[in-house]
């Protein structure tokens, strides 16, 4: 219902999604701080309750995002040792004790302050004893209740409060839109991170979360269609369920972070930054102006500045005047138009590199092609390691090199490696095959549509050159441990992304 000043009542729906809600925190940095949006009510379920608690406490969007960026994922892990002797009758695999003792204090949660929250908010938890959803307000929030809201059966122990058993509400509802509507919301702003990909994987762990996805998505979509029907009925002058128009503004994404299994701080920081980028793009499309952009680094500057570089040698053929990759390769092979790219990829700031979704590095080196005039130095170049366009199971490595031919004409070499899981063992060929196109002029990603193609073809890393490449890694940093850590983070990023693409049978998203 519109507020006294006539503006619509806005509800922020912080839907659950395990630790995928790190993405949600990034969205909040943009919505609350950069766009300056305000909400009259907020609802939280499952993991969303964490973000809701922080919102109730009065933290800014950037503070909530930084809390997730700075969270050490292993800190919350607490094995339920005592129960393991009971084997299949164990209470749960893990306990939430570390969340109480380490994570919540680390986030600076102040229960008193949250209880004093002046804004309207609703937390959701399932009361198993009474078999009903329990919606509670900030004034009622306790540490036990917050912990109970994320207590997923089998993974964590149920919480007993006043003799009654409470668990995560996700199997009942993952976003209490009905509560928001009941409280008079006109607009529902939903941040939905539960996967809707619909890829069925086998195994106990995969099935558990597929059950969650079933319950959460099923309920959510049912409510959405009720709202759609309500709006339609209003337009047609029929009786509408909610009696007024309800507008749903949804920002959903496939987040490259597993609901529960994650050991990499870099990966959760990257999920936060993905949320930031997705929200900025979403606001642009919705026509919501942004007041400015905030940094995407963790607030603490403990990470030393580290640099990393390696060289890559790729060779192959391109066909002049061709636009198709296979045909261009064949034409080039027949005519002998050999292309050799000798590249040095330089990562300036490993921290920025691994936590930014674009994973961008600079490229130096030479592109050699007799037909274009011999060895052409690269004036400037960028490399993006394993990036995706929203589907984390299909990634690309992107190369953009600006060179000049021997007559001084500017050329752009734009290439990509297609990293996705096709039948058979294709990891090697995917990561070693660069589909290459050379354009006239200095062309950026947006300008490729209208640019003139000079040559197209395929270049590859040979196995021997790849083995040599592994020996070319050089790391710079203030101390040996910093350097080793940087190399480790780079390696984990690379392997983790490859897991997302090729090893989903083992775990649907890479755990590091």
């Amino acid at each position: 219902m519109p507020k006294p000043d006539g503006t619509p009542k806005r509800s922020l729906i912080l839907a659950g999604g395990g630790v995928k809600v790190a993405f949600q925190a990034g969205v909040l940095q943009v919505w609350l701080d950069e766009a300056g949006l305000s909400f009259d009510h907020a609802d939280g379920a499952s993991g969303g309750c964490f973000n809701l608690a922080m919102w109730c406490q009065g933290m800014s969007g950037a503070q909530i995002a930084d809390n997730w960026r700075n969270l050490d994922p292993v800190a919350g892990v607490d094995f339920n040792w005592a129960q393991y002797l009971r084997l299949f009758y164990a209470e749960s695999l893990f306990q939430l004790g570390n969340y109480r003792q380490k994570v919540f204090p680390g986030w600076g949660l102040d229960w008193e302050k949250i209880r004093r929250c002046p804004r309207e908010a609703t937390f959701n938890v399932y009361n198993f004893t009474r078999h009903e959803l329990f919606v509670y307000t900030p004034a009622q929030l306790t540490e036990d209740l917050l912990v109970a809201s994320v207590s997923l059966p089998m993974w964590f122990e149920p919480v007993r409060i006043g003799g009654e058993v409470f668990i995560d509400s996700v199997f009942n509802t993952d976003a209490n839109l009905e509560e928001a509507i009941r409280r008079g919301a006109d607009e529902l702003w939903v941040i939905w991170t539960v996967s809707q990909r619909g890829e069925w994987l086998d195994g106990f762990v995969a099935n558990y979360f597929q059950v969650i996805e079933t319950a959460a998505n099923g309920r959510y979509k049912a409510v959405l269609s009720r709202i759609a029907e309500n709006n339609r009925a209003l337009e047609e002058g029929r009786h509408a369920e909610f009696g007024r128009r309800i507008e749903v503004k949804e920002l959903k994404a496939e987040v490259g972070l597993h609901y529960l299994v994650n050991f990499s701080r870099d990966r959760s920081a990257e999920a936060v930054n993905q949320g930031v980028e997705a929200a900025r793009e979403w606001c642009r499309q919705q026509g919501i102006p942004l007041r400015g952009e905030l940094p995407s680094y963790p607030a603490e500057v403990h990470d030393a500045l580290t640099r990393l570089q390696f060289t890559e040698d790729m060779k192959g053929y391109v066909g002049l005047g061709e636009t198709d990759f296979q045909r261009g390769f064949k034409a080039g092979h027949d005519r002998g138009t050999f292309l050799h790219a000798h590249l040095t990829i330089k990562v300036d700031g490993v921290n920025r590199f691994v936590t930014q979704p674009r994973h961008e590095a600079a490229v130096e080196g030479t592109v050699s092609c007799e037909e274009l005039g011999g060895d052409l130095p690269i004036e400037s170049g960028t490399f993006n390691l394993l990036v995706d366009e929203g589907d984390y199971t299909r990634k690309r490595m992107l190369y953009r090199l600006h060179v000049r031919d021997s007559a001084g004409n500017p050329l752009t070499l734009s290439g990509f490696k297609e990293v996705r899981d096709d039948p058979g063992f294709d990891l090697w060929s995917d990561t070693s095959t660069l589909y290459t196109r050379i354009y006239r002029g200095a062309v950026d990603a947006g300008g490729e549509e209208g640019a003139e193609v000079v040559a197209t073809g395929i270049i590859r890393i040979a196995m021997l050159d790849f083995l040599k490449q592994l020996t070319t890694f050089r790391v710079e940093g203030p101390s040996l441990s910093d350097r080793a850590a940087a190399l480790g983070r780079f390696g984990r990023l690379f392997l983790g992304k490859l897991w997302d693409v090729y090893a989903r049978e083992a775990l649907s998203v890479g755990p590091f």
């Binding site: 002049l320 037909e371 005039g373 011999g374 060895d375 007559a407 000079v454």
Partner: protein, 563 residues
């Protein structure tokens, strides 16, 4: 700033470029001719040792001279750089390509197909000849009749029953309507573009190092002076580096303006700024080593150029031979190769295509004189003899003083010091050329031009050619010596041809039979690189005639967009 625009821009002022510039400006088009070298008015060709040393084209060293020397894996090449192109250093022969040598479907050694016939070129040959005014060497008029090398060559050829003739030369021996006379003031219909006086041929033999009297009827006096009168814009010391098609039609051309007082590059970076102009049509006439190189380097701007780019290279069968120490009746025979225009006559070896029972590939052998000062070098090189003569002269003078010899006339002794000059006066070089096999290929290697022409593909032709040279040497009593690099399986060519050959379609050639590049309308090539095989005779007239035919095509079309 909007760059200057011309109807046509021509790159290079050789036989092709000058012809095009003349024809287009005569038709009223705005033409800009960009020539990388200097203009050379009479008297400007260097003769001092330092001048000669610097007279080479090497911009990175600060040399912007006339001779451009190349060395490739299979052969050496010598071309020129200056206003007038090859005409500045050539030996003036204007022969037409033999009618039957326009082969079609020839698979001997390498595929050769001429999509143009002698009949197609005949009107163009006539037009160019009219402008250049070739004259036969006036062997029947004194003092030309005493030119020893021509007489010797003629006598030797006739004794062997070979086909010997005087050849048409683009040299002024006479004013129109007057008898030929050496060193006479030349009367021109219009003043030439250098604004200087010219004399008739003085028989100094310096044709190949630049004619300082202006007797050679080079392109700057013929085509380019006329073009300038018609309003053509001629820019020298302007070297074209890159060109690209414009979206709105036409071309953008970038060139560097060389500063002759210093080198053009330092630390690999160009010093001179680049200028940009645009044109409705672009004609590349930078020569066989120039036009294909420019196209190869700018390949990225023309990705659809034919794959035939770089093919059908040949040296026109060029081969140098030396006749040393000609003898007649036991005594040195006077050949005097330093007197007279470099080339005056030719022996023709028939081709199997001519019919009449000849076997093998056709050729020409031409007497190749040299400048007089080379004779001094030859004599000075006879070091042992010179020391002996110096010693004997010194001894005679001392003896004369000691014995009080009354004889005061020592003319004979001075003469004895100079020796009998037998070697320089009895030797001559010959230049052979003809139908070798166009199996060479030009490509870029590390950004430089590379040509992989192999002598062995044309060995039967060279053996036949050398055989006839040997015959002639024998007839003169001289010993026949090959150019020393022959023993390394190499030749030096002054007539490089091909690289941008013409063909019936884009599979066969880069340009069509009118010189227009396939799939790039408005871009033309008009120089020796369009020849799909050797010309056989000296190629200059054929290059000019082909360019004249290209000019017809340019003038016949509607103007390109952007004009």
């Amino acid at each position: 700033m909007i760059p200057e625009h011309f109807d046509a821009v021509v790159v290079g002022s050789g036989f092709g470029g000058s012809t095009i510039t003349y024809r287009l400006s005569e038709a009223g088009k705005s033409v800009c001719l960009l020539e990388r070298g200097h203009p050379y008015p009479p008297g400007s060709f260097p003769r001092s040792p330092l001048g000669v040393r610097r007279n080479f084209w090497d911009p990175s060293e600060g040399d912007y001279g006339m001779f451009d020397v190349w060395s490739f894996s299979g052969l050496e090449g010598l071309v020129s750089s200056g206003l007038g192109g090859g005409s500045l250093i050539y030996a003036n022969v204007l022969l037409r390509k033999d009618e039957k040598w326009f082969v079609r479907e020839d698979h001997d050694g390498a595929y050769e197909y001429w999509p143009v016939t002698y009949q197609d070129l005949e009107p163009h040959y006539e037009r160019v000849e009219k402008l250049m005014g070739p004259q036969l060497f006036p062997l029947d008029v004194a003092p030309f009749s005493a030119t020893a090398k021509t007489l010797a060559f003629r006598d030797a050829a006739r004794a062997r029953g070979l086909d010997w003739n005087l050849v048409p030369l683009a040299v002024k021996f006479a004013n129109p309507g007057e008898p030929p006379a050496p060193g006479a003031l030349l009367k021109e219909e219009f003043p030439n573009l250098h604004g200087r006086i010219r004399l008739t041929c003085t028989l100094c033999g310096e044709c190949d190092v630049g004619c300082n009297t202006g007797a050679k009827n080079t392109l700057d006096y013929t085509h380019l002076s006329a073009a300038k009168r018609f309003g053509a814009e001629i820019r020298t010391l302007c070297e074209v580096k890159s060109f690209a098609p414009r979206q709105e039609g036409g071309f953008t051309i970038e060139y560097t303006q060389h500063d002759p007082t210093g080198p053009s590059k330092r630390d690999g970076r160009e010093l001179a700024p680049r200028r940009t102009i645009t044109a409705g049509r672009l004609i590349l006439s930078a020569g066989t080593f120039g036009s294909p190189f420019l196209l190869l380097r700018n390949r990225a701007n023309f990705p659809h150029l034919s794959d035939a780019l770089g093919t059908r290279f040949s040296g026109n069968g060029d081969l140098l031979g030396f006749f040393l120490g000609a003898v007649r009746e036991g005594r040195p025979r006077l050949v005097d190769a330093g007197r007279g225009p470099v080339i005056t006559s030719a022996v023709r070896g028939a081709d199997a295509l001519d019919g009449g029972g000849a076997k093998g590939r056709g050729f020409y052998i031409e007497d190749a004189g040299h400048p007089e000062f080379v004779n001094w070098l030859v004599e000075a090189s006879q070091a042992p003899g010179l020391l002996r003569r110096l010693a004997r002269f010194a001894w005679r003078r001392v003896k004369s003083r000691i014995t009080g010899d009354p004889r005061s006339d020592i003319t004979e002794e001075i003469q004895a010091l100079l020796g009998d000059c037998a070697l320089s006066s009895s030797s001559v070089a010959v230049l052979g050329m003809g139908r070798d096999v166009p199996s060479g290929r030009m490509r870029l290697r590390k950004g430089y031009l590379d040509v992989d022409w192999r002598l062995d593909d044309s060995r039967p032709y060279f053996d036949r050619l050398r055989g006839t040279m040997r015959e002639l040497a024998q007839e003169l009593g001289a010993s026949f010596k090959d150019n020393p690099i022959w023993y390394f399986n190499r030749v030096i060519s002054v007539h490089p041809l091909g690289g941008c050959p013409m063909g019936r379609d884009r599979r066969e050639g880069v340009v069509d039979s009118h010189g227009e590049v396939f799939d790039v309308p408005g871009l033309y090539v008009a120089d020796g690189s369009v020849m799909p095989g050797p010309v056989g005779a000296n190629p200059s007239l054929t290059i000019a005639a082909m360019a004249d035919r290209t000019a017809d095509r340019i003038l016949g079309l509607e103007p390109a967009k952007g004009a």
